[in-house]
Amino acid sequence: MSGSSVLRRVDWLTVFLFLTLIAIGWVNIYSSTFNEEHSSIFDVTQRYGKQLVFILLSFGLIPLIMALEANFYERFSSVFYVGALALLLGLFLFGKNIAGATSWYDLGFFNFQPSELAKATTALALAKYLSDIQTDIKRRKDQLYALLIILIPALLIIPQPDPGSALVFFSLVFVLFREGLPLWYLGLAVAAILVFICTLMFGTVWVGIGLALMIILFFMVKKPTYKMPVLPLVAIYAGAIILSLSVNFVFENVFEQRHRDRFSLWLRLEKDPEKLEQIRKTIGYNTYQSEKAIESGGFFGKGFLEGTRTKGDFVPEQDTDYIFTTVGEEWGFVGTATVVILFTILLLRLVHLSERQKNPFSRMYGYGVISILLIHYFINIGMVIGVLPTIGIPLPFFSYGGSGLIGFTILLFIFLRLDANRLKEWS
């Protein structure tokens, strides 16, 4: 396929959204790390200057990604996957420790974080495995293999320690559901999470009563002809109660105080104002400051470079995980809503693109991309605005960091390359 036809077939809307998000992201990094003495945007001693270099580097990769044949990615996905695993393993020997986590290789001019690359390779490998004619997702064994593909990189990342990044890999199970993994797996997981949260908020007794009421309600509205699965219901009920009891046990005996505090903060469990103040100052400091910064932006925000809390550096990690607070403080509701809408459009567009793929590999990879972007976006903004507990993962295209930006660019543009090829028969 010639280069010009790729240009014609590439999805320009996605490219436009990608560029817009990167531009907005950079403006906010500029503001978060602004320094009166180094106001030139090309000053590479400053983070905004470095980020600009990373952006240009990513842009440089794009023609390369687009120039390769589409089936190259499918054919070599196993190689990429194994290569990324090797890089993750290598960290145990050659990794550079930054702020307590050994997640980086020191490449001199920048620190490279292989887990960012592993997201794309794992998505590729998973798509490759699932699209194999011999794979049947309804089979237990195949389910297990698929799960292993996801699990191995995650297990290598957890001990770095970087639980946030590891969590991202689990989002790839969405691909499995799309490809036929029974939905009740998901239902069970959601139910377990609900039991967990409800137990912490209301206690086991109320969980038991609530669940019993729901079952009774279920009996009352069922069609007379419907045969009641009494035994499974009892089993589910018993399971839920046991889970609820063990949640209590784990929460009180296994969790450390800082974990408990994190949940107390998230679920607003702590009512004592003095203790709440204490939590706010320690474990909840970031969340409190980020909420306050966003809140203080109001509708129109304080304006570019006018964020007082941003300038005063009140929100920690504001150019990385908490970059969204700068949007909130300086651009107000107008800015935050715009970013949320842009992400929503991007994700919906990607769903649309994935679904129009004739080739199963492309579709599955597309879903992998969506899963990874969605979990980042959901957890990051959810954490910053205080609806989710603190889990440190970056906001795609926004947060400062070369590996992340390059990783997300590769992830997205491989898919765009596959999409540009969707009408061609695969050889």
Binding site: F177, I294, T308, G312, F314, T336, V340, Y377, I381
Partner: protein, 622 residues
């Protein structure tokens, strides 16, 4: 289908985020957050408070510097408490409790640690303050009084309290505000506006530079000096005359409504309520519930107006054409209500308006009052007319002068009597006491002075006021520069004023006249009851006097009210006479009279009800 599930999930997440963001940025956002912003330090620049001058430009109130030790709790670092306490001159407990209080108020905003250090303490502390992080000295300006009089008029300033902070966003902890009197009434004029400087800080509390390059900063606007209508000499003299007496005096310049003197006895030196001793002195004064020095009797006491009120009843009867000045009534050393005789000390005989007034004949006014009522078909109709006339003299409601407190007095209306006696179950005999100012009517000394000014002006008055100039400009507030006309036509005043002049010529105040000055006045003696151990007991009468002078070109109108002063011509009459002479002539020719007033006190009289023993009332002491 699964495509839809994922798409819906994405949209749901988007909506949740936008919902939460609306809550944070639209609902929880408040525009004045800038003052709660930890990233911005707000520094104030306080202007000097405006001076207060008297009507002739004599300085009454100036300023003196004072120094507060302030604390910003979260900036406090471990320190040698013992050493610091001894520097501040406080003990450890006080230090700890103040610091705790400050922290509760706000860890981030300044609170007062030790208020109002003297200049000497400040000098010793100044250089050593650097050592104590989180503490600093704020210069403030306190009042410096150039008179020991007029405390009730001037009022005082004190630190804002929690109520002020909550209700007026202008104020910050430790700032001063006018608490009573002129200081409160003209707070915003005198105070000016503090300058604001905003400084951007980082989270380590280091100052980075001016916030928005100082675009929001403001310069302080200095306080404005004011000139009030008081005559310093007259006010001081009046307060000296009130030595050992309780009561209120108000003197007004009739042609302007300017208050020349507003005196309450007992009073106190305004300097007592300045500086570190302020709150202790205030407690002493405030908790003196017997002589109540902080209770301004000139505007808050509401005695029955007594005989001076007769002049108004005469005017109403003339205006309504019920009588002429020649109409006469017979005095039987009193008058009959039903078959009960109410006494009169005028000597008895046939009374016309002139002798009715200067001899203060109760029978004459009871007759007039009855005649007035009988000329209407219903008492309700009569009552409405009467009420309208009385209120046109500024009685029965707040006068509207420029002091933050006041009392309404009372002009009873038909609703009042319907409430007391039942609907329509009362007649003129029930309310006849009002004819001689002893019934349900009540008036404050300032209302009586204003009423007298209205008579002096032959039918109009300006709302009495204390403000004369603001920043060198004469006042233009229509509240004080618009004439209020009474409902009595001018020609009716002459016979009444002639009667009042005769009070000095041949009546109850004969020996109080001033050589060369024609005065019109009216004495008043108000019966005085109290409860002692639950028993209604009569005490020595209150002494009342209203007067204006000179009769043909009135320069001063006043009302003097002396508690337990016995009959009107005695204490109240003497003081009125001395004040008029002092104001009009600048000196006192009747030095024996002056000496007596300066020396005589009524302390013995005031102690009687508390003695627990039997006592005489209305004793003739001199």
């Amino acid at each position: 289908m699964k495509k839809l599930v994922l798409s819906s999930l994405i949209i749901l997440i988007g909506l949740t985020f936008i919902g939460r963001l609306s809550y944070l940025q639209l609902f929880r956002f408040s525009p004045d957050q800038i003052f709660d912003d930890p990233a911005i330090k707000v520094v104030y620049d306080y202007p000097e408070r405006g001076y207060i001058y008297d009507r002739d430009g004599e300085l009454l109130v100036a300023n003196q510097p004072a120094y507060d030790v302030m604390v910003i709790p979260r900036e406090v670092e471990p320190l040698d408490t013992l050493e610091f306490c001894s520097l501040l001159g406080i003990d450890r407990e006080r230090f700890v409790s103040q610091l705790k209080k400050a922290r509760v108020y706000s860890p981030r905003l300044p609170s007062v640690m030790v208020p109002q250090l003297s200049k000497e303490d400040y000098a010793g502390l100044q250089e050593k303050m650097r050592k104590y992080k989180g503490f600093y000295i704020e210069k403030r300006s306190l009042r410096d009084y150039k008179t020991n009089a007029a405390a009730n008029v001037l009022g005082y300033i004190s630190e804002v309290n929690e109520w002020d902070l909550k209700n007026n966003p202008y104020y910050e902890q430790g700032e001063l505000t006018g608490r009573t009197g002129i200081e409160k009434q003209y707070e915003e004029v005198l105070r000016g506006r503090k300058g604001v400087k905003m400084i951007q800080k980082d989270r380590f509390n280091r100052e980075i530079g001016p916030y928005k390059d100082g675009a929001l900063d403001t310069m302080p606007q200095p306080g404005t000096e004011i000139r009030i209508t008081l005559d310093k000499t007259l006010q001081e003299y009046g307060e000296r005359l009130m030595n050992g007496k309780r009561g209120g005096i108000v003197a007004i310049e009739p042609e302007t409504g300017e208050i020349l003197a507003l005196i309450s006895g007992p009073t106190y030196d305004p300097a007592l309520l300045v500086g570190r001793e302020r709150s202790r002195n205030y407690s002493t004064l405030h908790y003196d519930t017997i002589s109540k020095p902080t209770w301004d009797r000139a505007i808050l006491a509401q005695p029955s107006p007594g005989s001076p009120f007769k002049t108004l009843n005469a005017l109403v009867a003339l205006q309504e054409g019920v009588i002429t000045p020649e109409t006469s009534f017979r005095c039987y050393h009193g008058f009959y209500v039903g078959n009960k005789l109410r006494g009169c000390h005028c000597g008895g005989g046939l009374r016309t308006m002139n002798s009715g007034i200067y001899k203060s004949c109760n029978a004459y006014f009871a007759g007039t009052f009855r005649k007035f009522y009988d000329s209407y078909e219903t008492t309700d109709a009569a009552m409405d007319v009467w009420e309208k006339h009385m209120k046109s003299f500024g009685l029965g409601d707040f006068l509207g002068y420029d002091l933050p407190t006041g009392a309404k007095g009372r002009v009873p209306d038909k609703e009042y009597y319907d409430r007391v006696y039942g609907d329509g179950r009362w007649s003129s005999t029930y309310i006849i006491s009002n004819a001689i100012g002893q019934g349900e009517v009540a008036a404050t000394p300032i209302q009586l002075a204003n009423m007298t000014a209205a008579i002096a002006n032959r039918g109009w008055f300006y709302t009495p006021h204390l403000i004369k100039q603001i920043g060198g400009d004469d006042i233009s507030d229509p509240k004080f520069t618009q004439k209020h006309y009474t409902t009595i036509d001018p020609q009716h005043f002459d016979p009444v004023i002639r009667g009042m002049a005769d009070v000095y010529e041949k009546g109850t105040a004969k020996w109080l006249s001033i050589p060369g000055v024609k005065i019109a006045g009216k004495t008043g003696t108000v019966e005085n009851y109290t409860k002692i151990d639950g028993v209604r007991t009569q005490l020595t009468d209150h002494s009342l006097f209203v007067a204006f002078a000179p009769v043909d070109n009135p320069k001063i109108a006043l009302a003097v009210y002396i508690e337990h002063g016995y009959y009107g011509a005695r204490y109240a009459g003497h003081i009125a006479s001395l004040l008029i002479e002092k104001y009009l002539k600048g000196e006192i020719t009747r030095t024996d009279l002056e000496k007596r007033m300066l020396e005589k006190t009524l302390e013995k009289e005031y102690a009687k009800p508390y003695s627990g023993e039997e006592f005489e009332i209305n004793e003739y002491v001199w």
